[in-house]
Symmetry: C2
Subunit: 286 residues, 2 copies
Amino acid sequence: MSSPFTVNGTVKTFGGSLLKLSHESTALGCKMALNVFLPATSASKIPVLFHLAGLTCTGDNGAEKGFFNHWAAKYGIAMVYPDTSPRGSNHPGEHDSWDFGSAAGFYIDATAEPWSSNYKMETYVTEELPTLLYQAYPALDSSRVSLTGHSMGGHGALSLFLKHPDLYKSASAFAPIANPINCPWGQKAFSGYLKSKEEWVKHDSTELLKSYKGDPLDIFITVGTADQFLLDGQLLVDNFVAAAKEVGREGEVVVKKCEGYDHSYYYVSSFSQDHVEHAAKHLGVL
Amino acid sequence: MSSPFTVNGTVKTFGGSLLKLSHESTALGCKMALNVFLPATSASKIPVLFHLAGLTCTGDNGAEKGFFNHWAAKYGIAMVYPDTSPRGSNHPGEHDSWDFGSAAGFYIDATAEPWSSNYKMETYVTEELPTLLYQAYPALDSSRVSLTGHSMGGHGALSLFLKHPDLYKSASAFAPIANPINCPWGQKAFSGYLKSKEEWVKHDSTELLKSYKGDPLDIFITVGTADQFLLDGQLLVDNFVAAAKEVGREGEVVVKKCEGYDHSYYYVSSFSQDHVEHAAKHLGVL
């Protein structure tokens, strides 16, 4: 079977291979690029950790600056770094602002025109991309998959995990947009991508946690106390923690406040060990 | 005493502080930017490791993508990431090619016009910058300083160490341009920056090693076997090793061939632990 992926480069790093891939996405109606780190391992099946990136990012930021690959290599985990939105659709206004449209897909399926035609990042990240990856790379263990993400990607990791608990072993987040319906970034994105305001709560991690009826959770979050976006009320991590309390799940959400850290990859790289090890524990390799 | 440095940002990373600095350089006749990583340490004096970057780079590449800060934090070492050339002199042709002029200073003092007016990267890296840093940050231990560098910066680390053994405890290099007088990059740079060909050998690490009369060395080099620039004859690491043999110093140069690695920061970050630990040993912290 021919692979749906074009391998634009294979770069050895931390003993494993960083694959620079691209493919035509049906869900998004465009060519998408991503990075996949395959660790050097004797295991026949390799657990998978998706890293969802933040606003303005691509699949390169985490792969180059997050130091996830170092820790993933240590535990024999494959890393998947998808892009953050469809590319080149050229909808009116798609490229006008850094927090909406290109590189700001928010990991949801849009319902409002014109975005509903191809801004289907939830379908892409949870269905199309993993299905293609597990077919093309059968060593990847589709039964052991976890999510992590940064900022908008933290919203993605938490919300996609709470919507699809059957697909993932665990979720963690770096400085997540934890309650988008109550912050400017989320309100701008949801009002643009979603047809009716009734749909907002279906994509809001804090609301999803309140209505979550599944097994006990073990969600891990880090956030810098000097993170300007936390101070500006864009992240609202405390609202997520309050929701956990409200539904008697306070013990199921662990937030590590990182004293003095900001929102940058200098912060992400400093704590990628914690997040990879949180996933490793749930993926059965730690 | 007021600091000569403007602190444009202080970013917490790996428990320490990454300082985004700029200052007016007398030697280079322009404003220069650099990054300095200060580890969290109880030590009263902090040893220093300079990382010299390669062609097209600034002081940001190593700081963001090298993973040096992680290991420097572990051993209580300060990292200094200088820029790779003067900026904005606008000499004719300065910005025309990626391997000469801007971001290609080659860590030498130019003698040919117009470059001789301010392309003084050897003076900047070995004299002006360290003097200013040790005044502004007295915790830095000017008596315990080592060099490392990548590609053109590997040439810088090796050649500046062999020229100024009194200034440094050790040198290591990632994929260095080890014999510039015999490769296209070095020949282009030296013929442009230096007035006469007689001067070339004074800046060539392989020639400097042949004439080196100092104490036994312990030079550590890593290079990827899939490094296209090695295969293209730009690095000539084997010439450096042959020179060591020629002068009976074969035991004093250790080259680690990194199977399948290329020239990128995916390679650098994979081996920064080895280089920081080589320095740590000579700086007395390992």
